[in-house]
């Protein structure tokens, strides 16, 4: 019964489509205004985000000084009105979010550099802590075309020009350096220049600037893994001489992840960031999001108050001197 009904409906729709197609095809220039309505609306809606996005992002510094009204909670274009829906990874890793034995994978704990930053930003924008709601996404979901069901995504996304073609970024909230993690028997221990690494077999997680660093700055072909855990497995299996990660993650790797697998990890060196191409993390927004200037304004205020340096000292900085390798 229901299936035949459904089929009849499909037939009706198909017939209607066929009629429409015929109408569109047969229309001449003067009648096209009415019959080609679907195509003009299509062009309008797709063009809309681009035209609005361009002036907004360029005008970001100016809107900092603009009247507060546009960025008041009730005026923000939020996915869920009245709450800030923040997307992050599944799971989240220290030292970025959920630091401490009881807080692993708990972004609501307000711990870690990004965890504390999200709540500070929310407060600055006028949200209460209860209005901050975390959702989880994979890397792919965040960049897939179409509408998003979160306001912004924060999981150490490096800002690059190529990525800016698909999504929008906030101003940077952290500038990182790359570091080299090895096991005690690695042949690259004692390396002091990039030239010492040209024969090394190095690995990194996919989609990271660490990967780009191996290929473009060190100039060797990198082995690529789904995540740092697989890269560590390859390191322990003797398939890699070293892993390149950003410095905060390197601390976490050598303090927690590698010892958990029964081995000892060493940070052999950190790499000097190139001035013309710094590695900066930004919050990721849907292309054309109207929220970007408001988040940037809040971020600028927090920066001015010295909060980012505080967070750095509290969650990321560790003692000890590490050799710096520069070009």
């Amino acid at each position: 019964m229901t299936t035949t009904k459904a089929w009849r409906r499909v037939l009706v729709v198909l017939a209607a489509l066929a009629l429409l197609a015929g109408a569109c095809g047969g229309s001449t220039d003067d009648t096209s205004q009415t019959t080609s309505a679907p195509t003009t609306t299509a062009a309008e809606t797709t063009a809309a985000p681009e035209t609005t996005a361009a002036p907004e992002t360029t005008a970001a510094p100016e809107t900092t000084a603009a009247p507060v009204d546009a960025c008041a909670v009730e005026n923000l274009a939020l996915v869920n009105p009245g709450q800030l829906t923040v997307a992050t990874g599944e799971p989240v890793f220290p030292p970025w979010m959920g630091v401490g034995d009881d807080y692993f994978d708990v972004p609501e704990s307000k711990t870690g550099y990004e965890g504390a930053l999200v709540y500070a930003l929310a407060e600055e924008m006028g949200f209460t802590d209860d209005q901050v709601v975390f959702v989880r996404t994979g890397f792919d979901e965040a960049i897939a075309p179409g509408p998003k069901d979160w306001d912004f995504n924060i999981q150490q996304y490096s800002i690059t020009d190529q990525r800016k073609e698909a999504v929008d970024f906030s101003d940077p909230y952290y500038t990182t350096r790359q570091a080299l993690v090895v096991l005690p028997d690695s042949p690259v221990i004692g390396a002091t220049s990039l030239a010492d690494l040209t024969d090394a077999k190095l690995g990194a997680a996919i989609g990271t600037t660490s990967f780009d660093f191996i290929e473009e700055v060190i100039g060797v072909q990198a082995s690529v893994y789904d995540d740092n855990v697989n890269a560590i497995s390859a390191l322990i299996a003797g398939q890699l001489d070293g892993i390149v990660v950003d410095l905060p993650t390197a601390y976490y790797m050598t303090a927690v992840q590698i010892p958990e697998q029964g081995a000892e990890g060493i940070i052999v060196a950190q790499f000097a960031a190139s001035a013309q191409n710094p590695d900066e993390y930004g919050m990721l927004f849907a292309k054309g999001s109207e929220l970007v200037p408001c988040v940037n304004a809040a971020l600028a205020t927090l920066k001015g108050q010295g909060l980012l340096d505080q967070l750095d000292a509290e969650w990321l900085a560790q003692g000890g001197e590490i050799v710096t390798i520069s070009e």
Partner: protein, 281 residues
């Protein structure tokens, strides 16, 4: 000259030809309507330009093609090596499983256990387990190469499935064949080798080719070990640019192999069917 089936049933062939020309027209007409409608709906949808930019960008196509092609070449090499090993190893497994007699019980038990166990383990786990696990044992003389262990895991997993395909082929050969071979004085293994297995393989070639297509795609799974094969190169490109066109490139390369194999399978099956029809008449 051999008489084909068309000479055997002239009336039926004539009717078929008449139906054929009308059928071709109808087929062409309905194809144009169906695909035209689909295309029209897709191309006029509001978000199409965005989707096109994300998945079908010519600029990204050109840029990612050489990289993905380089990785795909590695896929083909791994595929060929793995397929040869699988076809050999699984035939041995199937032959052992088909041996009769109580004396061979331990061998049969080992093979059955192997097939049951391996078919139950997800192939990805097997690759990770062998690729990261065995080299981590630091045994003397055991290779560490991730590619070596990746291909080995594929061979071990696929051989279990392929052995079952072979066994189905062996079982499909009529019992009288075995008995007549034995009555001619052939030993059990000789009967298998010269009488049963040649007929069995012929029966299961379409199923084996099906496994070909499947393996050709699963070879890509060794990327979890860090191997830069085609699909991984596409993923690396996507991760750097946030654009999925490189996956389309990878899909086209994989299709360039799997579609011809699928057409060949159909052609072979059809030819085999016709030959048997002729033989039985």
């Amino acid at each position: 000259m051999r008489r084909g089936p068309q000479q055997l049933w002239p009336r039926r062939t004539k009717r078929r030809r008449e139906e054929g020309s009308r059928g071709a027209l109808i087929a062409a007409g309905s194809t144009i309507i169906v695909f035209g409608l689909i295309l029209w709906v897709v191309l006029t949808s509001a978000a199409w330009p965005e989707v096109q930019r994300q998945f079908f960008s010519w600029k990204h196509f050109k840029e990612s093609f050489p990289k993905v092609l380089g990785g795909f070449w590695l896929d083909i090499q791994m595929f060929i090596i793995a397929e040869i090993l699988i076809l050999t190893f699984s035939l041995v497994l199937a032959m052992i499983r088909s041996l009769r007699g109580p004396a061979f019980f331990p061998l049969r038990a080992i093979v059955i256990t192997y097939i049951d166990l391996i078919r139950g383990i997800p192939i990805l786990l097997l690759i990770l387990l062998m690729g990261f696990g065995i080299p981590a044992l630091q045994l003397q003389g055991v290779p560490k190469s991730e590619m070596f262990w990746g291909v080995t895991a594929l061979v071990i997993s696929y051989s279990a499935y392929t052995a079952e395909v072979y066994r189905a082929g062996i079982d499909s050969v009529h019992e009288s064949q075995r008995m007549s071979a034995r009555s001619l004085g052939l030993t059990q293994t000789q009967a298998l080798r010269y009488v049963i297995v040649p007929q069995a393989i012929r029966n299961v070639i379409p199923a084996l080719l099906n496994g070909f297509v499947s393996l050709q795609k699963d070879v890509a799974l060794v990327f979890v070990l860090g191997v830069r094969e085609g699909l991984r190169e596409a993923e690396i490109y996507k991760a750097g640019t946030f654009n999925y066109t490189s996956y389309v490139v990878a899909a086209m390369l994989f299709l360039a192999i799997s579609v011809p194999v699928a057409r060949f399978t159909d052609w072979y099956t059809e030819r085999d069917r016709r030959r048997r029809q002729v033989m039985s008449t």
